[in-house]
């Protein structure tokens, strides 16, 4: 045990004396979470729109007032000519044009259902979609308002109600993803680099020719990073709670337990990478290409797994990050307990065991 | 005789530590100059200043007629350099290495071609010309590396421990190459930890703690220090 503690102490010296690694360890989570939280967002705010009102009557005025009163839109321009629509889009400032048809009020009163046409600039499809949804919602509210005294007999009203993230805040979606990416990066890349560094320096030769057992070398390498990764996970959660008002509905203890499980998965992957790479550079390349890309692209972090082509959906199942993101979202946003995520947890656990067994099998007691 | 290296009071300090302490010496054209010293005596720092990759703190030096302070770029074009740590690219073939190094010294395509062939003939490399350098024995690498350092006909060649770890026969073949280059007028500035090699030099300087403690022909040094060979001279001096 004393042997082992001595080893762990040495690992901490390495980490604490290497300024660059320290920065990656602690600077990156903060920068990433802030970047994702502030810069990348699906929400819209003061989007410039133009109005082409053929009617210019009471109703259209009221609707226009409602829209301009919301903080989502700023009415930037009024258009009077069909031809101008294209030119305002080309200038780029206007993201949507609203067209009210002729005799709007008259049609409404005579029960002929007038139409509002929304033309949105879909060069950014997400924004266009959101704009159209928001405008729709405003108009619907208005219609309900004017109809409140009139009993409507036959009407099916689809009411959508967003649960778990009622304000559709994108930061809620990114926090679990960023946390997953960072834990993967810190745990897998850092351990694989730190083990291959010993190979490069030649110190691995001495460690092998010593009474230390391979399992002690591996555990000694891993433990400092478990510790650091847990700190990282806590930093991320604290940041998202206090800066982005991210709720953690479920149990913090469960969240902690699941995080540690995922950290161990990532560390096992890191050890596996170190057994197949001879240099720090290779270890880093494999970690980045082999782990980071799948985590970002296939885990459901950015692109929903459900809308991927079938082969990719199948591949996504072998990516541990996918399951961790599901678990994280379930705990943080839905507030569910282990009863609802035991399946994902079990999958993660099985994967971890598999990686640990594989890497201990592959870990060489000799140089070849 | 023309001096190709002239150093006067050359000094380099790192903070409070003076690595090279006011060394003055000169090296003549075509001379084999042995630059000896214990590890940490300041040899590497001194060489770095002479080849124009480190600025002296004070003092003055001219290498191949150029000032180390103001004309470092001209110095680099007129010298060859070979170190034990970095010589050739292991993942390029012998030919590719020669072409590359010929290229960075601005040799024309035709010149590189003739020089490559001449070098391959001289070192008997026909069979391995297209092999990766990494697969060759160390002694071969060092010989090729030396020839590459001479490709652009430099006035001076700096050799930093060129023969470390090389087998005794190849080591001597290497020195035959050095003699030949010197005979043709190239100045050789060489460091080594083999004291028998110190005897092959025309003149030898021994650095101790940043200063040149002795500088003379091997014969005179042995006489002055009443030593049987250069190893004894070195031990007497460097032990301080």
């Amino acid at each position: 045990m004393r042997l082992f503690l001595g080893f762990v102490k040495k690992e901490f010296y390495h980490i604490l004396r290497d300024r660059r690694s320290l920065f990656i360890l602690f600077g990156m989570p903060i920068i990433q979470i802030l970047l994702f939280g502030f810069a990348i967002t699906n929400e819209i705010n003061h989007v410039n729109i133009a109005i082409f009102d053929h009617s210019k009557d009471v109703t259209t005025h009221e609707i226009i007032n409602k829209i301009s009163a919301s903080s989502y839109f700023t009415i930037n321009q009024l258009i009077n000519n069909e031809k101008d629509i294209e030119s305002v889009f080309k200038k780029g400032k206007i993201k949507a044009v609203l067209i009210f048809e002729r005799d709007f009020n008259k049609k409404l009163i005579t029960n002929k259902s007038p139409t509002v046409q929304i033309i949105a600039d879909a060069t950014d499809p997400n924004t266009a979609n959101t704009i159209s949804n928001y405008i729709n919602a405003i108009i619907q509210t208005y219609v309900k308002e004017i109809n409140k005294d009139v009993p409507v007999v036959y009407q099916i009203n689809a009411q959508s109600h967003m649960v778990y993230n009622p304000e559709l805040k994108s930061v809620f979606m990114f926090v679990p993803g960023v946390m997953t990416v960072i834990l993967m990066l810190v745990s897998a890349m850092m351990t694989s680099i730190s083990i291959t560094r010993e190979k490069e320096l030649g110190t691995m030769e001495i460690l092998l020719v010593s009474p230390l057992k391979p399992i002690q070398v591996i555990a000694g390498k891993v433990i400092p990073y478990v510790f650091l990764s847990v700190i990282n996970a806590m930093v991320i959660i604290v940041l998202s709670i206090f800066i982005f008002k991210m709720p953690v509905q479920g149990s913090l203890i469960l969240l902690g337990f699941e995080s540690v499980l995922f950290i161990i998965t990532a560390l096992a992957l890191g050890i596996l990478i170190s057994t197949i790479s001879a240099t720090q550079q290779t270890a880093m390349m494999i970690s980045l290409m082999g782990l980071m890309l799948p985590v970002i692209i296939l885990s459901g972090f950015i692109f929903p797994v459900g809308s991927m082509p079938l082969p990719l959906q199948i591949i996504s199942n072998i990516i541990p990050a996918k399951w961790f993101i599901i678990i994280l979202k379930a705990i943080m946003l839905k507030g569910v307990g282990i009863m609802y995520i035991w399946k994902e947890t079990l999958i993660l656990l099985a994967m971890t065991l598999f990686f640990i067994i594989l890497s201990t099998k592959k870990y060489k007691i000799r140089l070849e | 005789m023309e001096n190709v290296i002239e150093a006067i009071g050359l000094t380099k300090s790192f903070g409070a530590f003076t690595a090279v302490n006011a060394i003055s010496f000169h090296v003549q054209k075509g001379e084999i100059f042995g630059f000896l010293g214990a590890n940490g005596a300041g040899k590497t720092t001194a060489i770095k200043m002479l080849i124009g990759i480190a600025n002296p703190t004070s003092g003055a030096a001219k290498v191949a007629g150029f000032d180390v302070f103001t004309e470092a770029e001209s110095i680099k074009r007129n010298i060859g350099y070979m170190s034990q740590k970095f010589a050739l690219y292991d993942d390029l073939t012998v030919k590719e290495n020669i072409t590359f190094f010929g290229g960075i010294y601005g040799l024309t395509r035709a010149a590189i071609k003739t020089k490559t062939q001449a070098l391959i003939d001289e070192l008997n490399l026909e069979n391995v010309a297209n092999h990766l350098v990494g697969s060759l024995p160390l002694g071969w690498k060092q010989k090729i590396s030396f020839s590459v350092a001479l490709l652009h006909n430099p006035k001076i060649v700096f050799l930093d421990e060129p023969t470390g770890g090389v087998d005794p026969i190849t080591r001597r073949q290497f020195w035959e190459m050095i003699y030949k280059a010197a005979h043709q007028g190239t100045t050789i500035f060489v460091t080594t930890h083999y004291m028998d090699e110190a005897e092959y030099c025309d003149r030898v300087s021994i650095m101790v703690n940043g200063k040149i403690e002795a500088l003379d022909t091997p014969k005179n040094l042995k006489k002055t220090y009443k030593a049987e060979n250069m190893n004894d001279v070195f031990l007497k001096l460097a032990r301080g």
């Binding site: 004393r2 102490k9 030649g202 020719v209 009474p211 000799r366 | 010293g37 035959e176 092959y200």
Partner: protein, 300 residues
């Protein structure tokens, strides 16, 4: 026997690194493995320290088999690999402490063994290993390899790239260590260090050329050897390389060591030849072959 090797062979891909190597090292012996870079010394060390397995043959260290009993060997030997193997970002003291700890001991416990060496680096004990000079690094590495009081010490090229002063100090230390009963197997490319060993093995291209004590090994040099000197070394070497009776001519310090391809050579004849080549101040005298002469003759 402290170390035994029986018909050990090892190849990598298409390179034969070791070819049928057999020899024994007695307990308490200082045994030198002498050969150039690439001769197979490191491979041999790695097989004996259980880091590699041989393709064929068997070997024991302290009577333990290098394959079967590798764990026991790892507990009882000290190893200093060729590449400098200390943690550059740890201080001198931290390095030593670390190696003491992983071998289950403390600096205090075996301080006697390393004292002589450690006092020389103790003033720098709070300096990072990366900032030490070559000679200092070496002493520290030796301390680290010794800290657990090994029965057998493996030193792979400990003095390569080290200046003659530090090398001499290092060998003085080895001699003192030997007094404590430790068996030492050391490799070196420096022939002058061979003379300091009890016995030496010449190794070249994966094969053992000869094994003997330094005093005896020079007897394997069968020809008469001459020291030749003249006013110009380059000219002398050129002339000798064109002399039809030259068997070997190698520069050795201020002389050329010359051997003739005839049994009954007449030095005067050579003298005349050299004069005819324009050389003067010629000296030709019989000399005793050195270990290096012997190595070159055997390796030729």
């Amino acid at each position: 026997m402290s170390i035994t090797l029986n018909h050990i062979s090892k190849s990598y891909k298409n390179v034969q690194a070791l070819n049928d190597i057999s020899f024994n090292v007695k307990a308490g012996e200082l045994f030198g493995l002498i050969g150039p870079d690439g001769a197979g010394k490191t491979t041999l060390f790695r097989i004996l320290t259980t880091l590699l397995t041989a393709d064929s043959g068997s070997a024991t260290v302290s009577n333990f088999d290098v394959v079967k009993d590798y764990k026991k060997i790892r507990n009882s030997v000290g190893y200093m690999p060729g590449k400098f193997s200390l943690y550059q970002d740890l201080t001198v003291e931290e390095n030593l402490n670390f190696f003491a700890t992983i071998f289950g001991t403390t600096i205090k416990e075996n301080y006697d063994l390393i004292k002589d060496i450690y006092v020389q680096i103790e003033p720098f004990k709070n300096r990072r290993a990366g900032k030490l000079s070559g000679g200092m690094k070496q002493k520290l590495a030796l301390c680290c390899a010794l800290i657990h009081k090994p029965e057998v010490l493996f030193l792979d090229e400990p003095t390569t790239g080290v200046d003659p002063v530090s090398r001499k100090e290092f060998w003085d230390m080895l001699k003192r260590l030997q007094q404590t009963g430790i068996t030492i197997l050391v490799s070196t490319p420096y022939m002058d260090e061979a003379a300091l060993c009890d016995r030496i093995a010449f190794i070249q291209n994966g094969s053992i050329l000869e094994i003997d004590s330094p005093q005896e090994i020079v007897k394997h040099f069968s020809k008469t050897l001459y020291n030749i000197r003249a006013h110009n070394m380059y000219q002398l070497m050129e002339s000798l390389s064109h002399y039809k009776h030259t068997f070997s001519a190698y520069p050795f310090g201020e002389y050329v060591h010359y051997s003739d391809n005839r049994m009954d050579m007449n030095p005067n004849e050579l003298h005349m030849y050299l004069v005819s080549k324009g050389l003067n101040e010629i000296i030709i005298e019989v000399t005793q072959p050195t270990i290096e002469d012997t190595f070159m003759a055997l390796a030729k």
